[in-house]
Symmetry: D2
């Protein structure tokens, strides 16, 4: 069912997105979705110690990207066309963040899904995002 | 836990939103969320027989509104401030639509939640929406 | 430059979308965009006399649809895939609403644009929307 | 009319957001809006040399934040609650990016605006974003 395992996705990230690969690790992937961890470091923080908006955007974006690859294989040409993100609560200081991505539609050229972002170990949703990716047409 | 039952929500709709009340029925409400039915009639359709975008927007909007009331009681002054909606698939002709709303944050002045829209009896999501409502500040 | 005039767009609406054609009139169309009027009637109102959210959504959606047709011609198969709408102010009672659509990207398969909604004769924006349409691939 | 000049905004950024201040410079600010420059460096790029999504998100977010401060003064507590962003075209390699922010509603507790993103010297819009900020209530 899955086209790529967590280890294969991590390897893809390291090879093709070396600059950000160290920020993220694939915690889990299955038919229902993918969980990506943002290893929070000082560079991800805003004044006051909370994770910055761009860092949370990146977590949502990469989580959806890898969820798509887990279904269709290593396609470097998938690009984000739209993202709507709601920031609901301050992330908890000193904790990694987790992004749980699920795909709602895997179309021939567009893929749409949701990502919920959490501070690790805390049940309240910190942010929610919907993303659309454009993917290259699959050859028959 | 719930401030209003399904019957009370239906009564509220009939009394305060008489114009649209006949379009909708509250199928279920509990701590996890609310399911609202759009009784599809000819006036909700576009050429080709599919449910129109504005009708789906209305289903998402009313579902979230009633989900909020189910938690905070009959507050007529809640207003939609934002909605992001993705249309994923054509609704199935000749079927009612169901909107399943869940609240992600019930804040003092803003409430944020998601609604998934389905054609009755079909598992694929037809549309997904995120909505923000502004609610009057709760008195202590 | 334009593929369809205001009169041709109005005729298209009357022929293919008879159910809603009477709600709307094309006030202006040029290379910069299109202005669509919602002829506000009782059926568009919510309690208190303001234009309903679904009616404003419909105004934004139809304005963008016609703006696209004004550029590519009468393509019945264009469908809305995404809409983000912010409701900023109460519309003024007893006035028509105007939607001013502009196209930001006219791609081979996706079209993205913005619509600003006003109460006629009032400068403040009542609502703003961004919409994405999927259009059938253009033949060479 | 303006509560802060371009130089004052730049100073605020340097003092309160030292980590990102070097990425951005305020090119212009007036009653109509604010133009912010992203000084594109290698750290903002994705494979292939285009500016990354999170970097564009940051440009939109900071541009809107500073546009708000230019109107209400140095309020550190403004926070982003929502962002919808459409990525329309690849940014042009080797160029700075400009974000042009305008405020559509400056409410007592919510501020809503739009940002258009460009590659410097190129007329086509690269991305568009709508953002909502929550601001602390203004004292009478």
């Amino acid at each position: 069912m899955l086209a790529m395992t967590a280890a294969e996705l991590q390897g893809f990230l390291a090879r093709d997105f070396g600059q950000v690969a160290q920020d993220f690790s694939v915690d889990a992937v299955d038919a229902a979705g993918l969980t990506l961890r943002l290893r929070v470091e000082t560079r991800h923080l805003r004044p006051g110690g909370t994770v910055s908006g761009p860092s949370m955007f990146a977590l949502a974006d990469v989580a959806m990207y890898l969820a798509i690859l887990s279904r269709i294989g290593p396609v470097a040409l998938a690009v984000t066309t739209q993202c709507s993100i709601d920031f609901l609560r301050k992330p908890v200081a000193g904790r990694d963040m987790l992004g749980r991505a699920q795909i709602l539609k895997l179309g021939r050229s567009l893929v749409v899904g949701d990502v919920l972002l959490y501070s690790e170990g805390v049940p309240d949703v910190v942010a929610r995002a919907s993303l659309t990716y454009s993917v290259p047409p699959v050859k028959a």
